[in-house]
Symmetry: C2
Subunit: 308 residues, 2 copies
C-alpha cells in the first residue's frame, strides 16, 4: 500500500461512528491530506475536537465542503436531501460526492438531483458498524476485512470510480460494485430485516406481563442477548433506513412471516422432522460466514474464556 | 469455597456440551469424588475417553448410574422418558435424579412417573451454552456467572434440594428456584423464541432467489451474522425443545407476530415516530443485560479489535 493521499481534502458530513472511524482509518494510512468534519450539534463537535481525528471542525456545512476533493455524507439518510441542497453551490468542480448510507435507491433519489454538473456522485455503503454511536465510538479498524458496496449510476466517470475504490481499499475494505436496487434487496435480508426482528423481539419481551423485565435480563444468556446487541443501534439512523427502503424490507418481511407461519404450524402439529430439517440446514450458513472471515469461530463470539 | 465433594459419585447421562462442561467444572473444584459418563454412541465415548474428563465411561446406562449419588440427564429431552424407565430399577436409595433440559413441565411429565420411592427428583436447567455440541465442546467455565434454575416439585426433600443448590454454586452458577410452568414461559421468550426466529431468518435468507447465498455470507456483518450463531445450535436438542414446550412457545410467538404486524404497518405507512419510539426503548434493555454481567459491553461482542 502506498502512503500518498488518495484525496487532498476530505469533508465528513457527520462524525458519528462511521464518519469518525473513516477519519481514524484515513490517518492510519495517510489516505487524505486534510480531514474536515461537520456536525450540527455543538456537543458532537466538542467530542470530536477532544479526540482530534479531524484537522478542522465546522458547524456550517458549506465551510466544511469548501475545496474538498471528496465529500462524504455520513448522517442518517433522512437528512441527506437538505444537506445536498445546502452544499451543492459550494462544491469544487471535479470533486466527488459520496455517502455511507444503508439504502441506495433513496439516496440517489434524494441527493442526485442536487449534484451540479462537473461534480461526480458515487453512492457507497460500507457493511460495517457496531451497536455504538457518536464520535467516541469510532476506531480505525472498523472497515478492515469488511465489504464496501459502491452503486455508481450509469455513465459514472471511470477515473472517479477507480479513485473511490482505491480510497476504500486503503481504509481496509474489500470493494464490490452493484446496482442500487439490488443493493437494497441484499441489505434488506442481510441487515434491515435482522435489525427489525431484533428490535421487535426485544419490544415483545419488554411488553410481556407474565415475565418480568428482571427475568428477561437474568436469563438472557439463553439466546435473547444476541438480539439485543443490534437492537441497541442508533434509533434515528434505523428509522430512516426503514422509511427509505420500504419496498425491499416489506418484501423480505413477507417471506420471513410466511416461513414463520410454516414453523408455527410444525410446532403446533408436532412435526419434528420439519423442525429438524430446517435446524440442520441453517448450520451450514454459519460455517460459511466464519470461513469467509465475516465472523469469529470462537464459541459464544468468544464471550466465554475457553482455554486453548 | 470448600473443596470437599458435594456428591460421591455423579453419573452423567449424556456427555455433550453440557455434560462434559459439568465434568470439567466438577473437577475444577473437587465437586464429585467420581464421575461416570454414558453415551449410546461409540464415537462420543471415544472422544470423551480421549479428553479424559470422566473416571468411567459406559455404553450401558444401567452400569453408569450404579451407586451414583447424583444422576444427571443431559441428553436431548426427547430421550428422557426411555432413559428414566431404563435406569429406574438401578437407582440407589437416597440418590437424586436431576437434568439439564431447556423445558421443565414436559420433563416432569416424562421422568417423574419413573422415579422410585426413596429417590429424589429435582429438575434443573443451567442457562448457559454455546452454539457448539459434543464432548469436545465442553469447558469448565461455561456456568460461571450464569443462572441455574431449579424447579422442584411440591414436597421435595429440603436437604436434597439444598445439596443440589450447593452443587450448582460450586460449578460457578447462581441458583434460582421457580415453578416449572413459569420457567417454561420465561425460557420461551428468553431462549426458545430467539432460537426459532434465528433459525427462521437464516432459512428465509437461504431460500431467497433474488439474493445469492454468497451475497448473504459476504454482507452478513450488517446484522445477519448475529442470528447465525444461535441458528447453528444442536438440531436434535432444539427439535425436542419445540416439541416439548409447544404451548408457551406458541403463546410468545403469537405476541411476537402481532408486534411484527404493527411494525410492518408502521413501515408501510411511513410512521417514523412509531419506529423511533420502539428503537429507543430497546436500547435500555441491552444496557441492563450488560450491567447484569450477562453479556460483554465490548462493541460488536468484542469481535473487532478496538484499541483501549
Amino acid at each position: 500500500m502506498s502512503n500518498s493521499p488518495v484525496y487532498d481534502k476530505v469533508a465528513l458530513i457527520g462524525v458519528g461512528l462511521i464518519g469518525s472511524s473513516m477519519a481514524h482509518a484515513m490517518r492510519r494510512d495517510g489516505v487524505a491530506s486534510r480531514i474536515a468534519g461537520y456536525s450540527h450539534r455543538t456537543e458532537t463537535l466538542e467530542k470530536a475536537r477532544a479526540i482530534g481525528f479531524a484537522d478542522s471542525l465546522h458547524d456550517d456545512v458549506t465551510d466544511c465542503v469548501k475545496d474538498a476533493d471528496l465529500v462524504v455524507l455520513a448522517t442518517p439518510v433522512g437528512a441527506y436531501a437538505v444537506l445536498a441542497e445546502q452544499i451543492a453551490p459550494h462544491l469544487k468542480p471535479g470533486a466527488t460526492v459520496t455517502d455511507v448510507g444503508s439504502v441506495k435507491s433513496a439516496v440517489i433519489r434524494d441527493v442526485g438531483p442536487h449534484v451540479p454538473e462537473g461534480v461526480h456522485f458515487i453512492p457507497a455503503h460500507p457493511i460495517a458498524g457496531t451497536e455504538q454511536s457518536g464520535p467516541e465510538a469510532g476506531f480505525a479498524e472498523l472497515f478492515d476485512g469488511r465489504w464496501c458496496i459502491l452503486t455508481p449510476l450509469p455513465g459514472t466517470d471511470a477515473a472517479a470510480l477507480e479513485r473511490l475504490k482505491t480510497f476504500w481499499h486503503r481504509l481496509g475494505s474489500d470493494v464490490e460494485v452493484m446496482d442500487a436496487r439490488h443493493h437494497d434487496l441484499v441489505l434488506a435480508i442481510t441487515s434491515h430485516l435482522p435489525h427489525l426482528i431484533a428490535y421487535n423481539i426485544v419490544g415483545t419481551a419488554d411488553d410481556l406481563q407474565a415475565v418480568t423485565k428482571s427475568e428477561v435480563i437474568k436469563y438472557s444468556a439463553g439466546g435473547f442477548r444476541d438480539f439485543t446487541r443490534i437492537a441497541a443501534s442508533d434509533p434515528t439512523m434505523w428509522r430512516d433506513v426503514f422509511l427509505n427502503n420500504r419496498e425491499a424490507v416489506l418484501e423480505v418481511l413477507g417471506r420471513f412471516s410466511e416461513d414463520l407461519s410454516a414453523l408455527q404450524r410444525a410446532i403446533r402439529w408436532g412435526d419434528g422432522e420439519a423442525l429438524f430439517n430446517l435446524f440442520t440446514r441453517t448450520r451450514a450458513i454459519r460455517r460459511s460466514i466464519v470461513d469467509a472471515g465475516q465472523d469469529t469461530a470462537a464459541p459464544n463470539f468468544g464471550r466465554s474464556k475457553k482455554p486453548g
